[in-house]
């Protein structure tokens, strides 16, 4: 179980970093999405992996529960990273429509005509 989760985080991170280093907007967005999945799984695992345990302490003295806090944290992080990815897609789309190419650097930005 630990091995599975750890390798999932590792593979997602490796893929994310590779995509992040591309020079086009679309792979970069995908890379950031993969990285945020990786970190979400990682954050979830920081409360230790436990199977078939409820996140609520049923009876005092009986320590068979899983830590609820990372689950709450990861829910927050998922919502926020979803929102961020949406914004990033919109900005990327704007850049693509503006420049007719999804290169990271829009050419000829030096020519500032002023507002």
């Amino acid at each position: 179980m630990e091995f599975l989760v750890a390798s999932a985080v590792g593979v997602l991170t490796a893929g994310g970093v590779y995509l992040l280093l591309r020079l086009r907007t679309f792979p970069v967005i995908l890379g950031i999405a993969l990285l945020s999945y990786a970190v979400n799984v990682f954050l979830f695992a920081s409360g230790r992996l436990a199977i078939d345990k409820s996140p609520i302490l049923a009876k005092y003295g009986e320590a068979s529960y899983t830590d609820p806090l990372p689950q709450a944290l990861v829910l927050t992080a998922i919502v926020i990273s979803f929102g961020m990815t949406a914004v990033l897609v919109m900005i990327g789309l704007g850049a693509y429509l503006e420049a007719d190419s999804d290169r990271i650097d829009i050419e000829d930005t030096e020519e500032d005509t002023g507002a």
Partner: protein, 499 residues
Amino acid sequence: MSWILALPLLIPFVTAIAVFLLSNSPKMSARVSLAGSLAGLVAALFLFAEVASTGVVAGQMGGWPAPFGITLVADMLSAIMVVITAITAVAVALYALGEIGAEQSRLGYHALFQVLIGGVSGAFLTGDLFNLYVWFEVMLISSFGLLILGGRPEQIDGAVKYVALNLVSTILFLSGIGLLYGETGTLNMADLSRVVAEHPDQGMMTLIALLFMIAFGVKSAVFPLFFWLPASYHTPGFAVSAVFAGLLTKVGVYSLIRAFTLIFVSQPEVTHTILLWVAGFTMVTGVLGAAAQSEFRRILSFHIVSQIGYMVLGLALFTPLALVGSVFYLVHHIIVKANLFLISGISQRMTGSGELYRIGGLYAAAPLLAALFLIPAFSLAGFPPLSGFWAKYVLVKASLDADAWIIAGVALLVGLLTIYSMTKIWAEAFWKDDPSGRIPKAPQDGPPLWPCYAAVVFLAVLTICVGLVPGPFLAFAETAATQLLSSDAYINAVLGAQE
């Protein structure tokens, strides 16, 4: 008690809702935004007075006891930062009266601006690491909106880099939080301060500390993580870039100071040595980068980077005097840098460009603006008796006291090179004649210029006040530094007195 803590957060968000509902009436929403900022300043001053008279103020949101609930806490540093945020908000809201047109207002400029101020204040007031992450995101998402408002190609170009690099920093921050929680079982900063110090595996703690250092380093734009800043800060509207320049990187510096005085202090020979090198390289690369630029706001952007180095320097030396210098520098820098960006806005509206080689003649056309430029420019370079002189003096003295001769020399040299850049702006934009022979004049159409001047004068007067009467400000910075170095007061205020 917790009302005083919550008001600097509530007021910007309430104002944001109000101006969002009013966004069809540009004049009205600009005025409401200014009124909200003034109310925020009053609330911040109340909080400051409370902290100055009774010490650290803490409150639990939702009534859960610490360390389980979310803590809001204001020590002297937080209170100072909240006040200076509110001051910047007032100045920029005033400036916006003279810059933000109907179109940008309809697109939600004022609402985004208020949310940004709320996010920044939240980051300064929270006492919980995960909550700090949430405030970072509040701040980021509103800054994305502000950055692309208007939708010119270079804005979107800058925004892509800004967004991508900031998201990577967020991801590192989150993995740091995950590791820290897995190791210690708490995210309350006061609680962490105790738990991390007593943790058996100090190597692991230092590793986590480095993750946080990188995450906050991207936010505060230190070497070698600053590249998003000069790529994006010269693109948005002037009011927007002033508030970015004043506040956003400073949230990163504040987080660095908080994390490396309260939580990660067990191996300073590793963490603070790295910070010292980072500080030196940040100062030098920033100022050299600025020397190579010829666009008004690009020069200023690189100077932000170089000035961040000074603040990190104070943290890295980690002596009482050095921390006084850092805190004082933060305050000085926010006022001066926001002011310089606002002045660049007036200059561009009068000359039509920000490219220094293409403009000129501002001294003849607008002597008042030239005089107003000299105040923050000299202060940035560290001329006595302006605020920057005292900030640099304290930091250089602290490095000499700590026998850090090299870094003291670097700090002085960078100050000298800062004068070079400021002289370049002065000579090109103000002194020489316009190469195409046109005379700069106030634009006939669009919003009036007087609110812009009012905002600039307001900040310039503050700079002079801090410069002429540094005593009380240094005393406040000293209180802040004392609280930072002996964190018992902070911990006791949050967790209740132990034993």
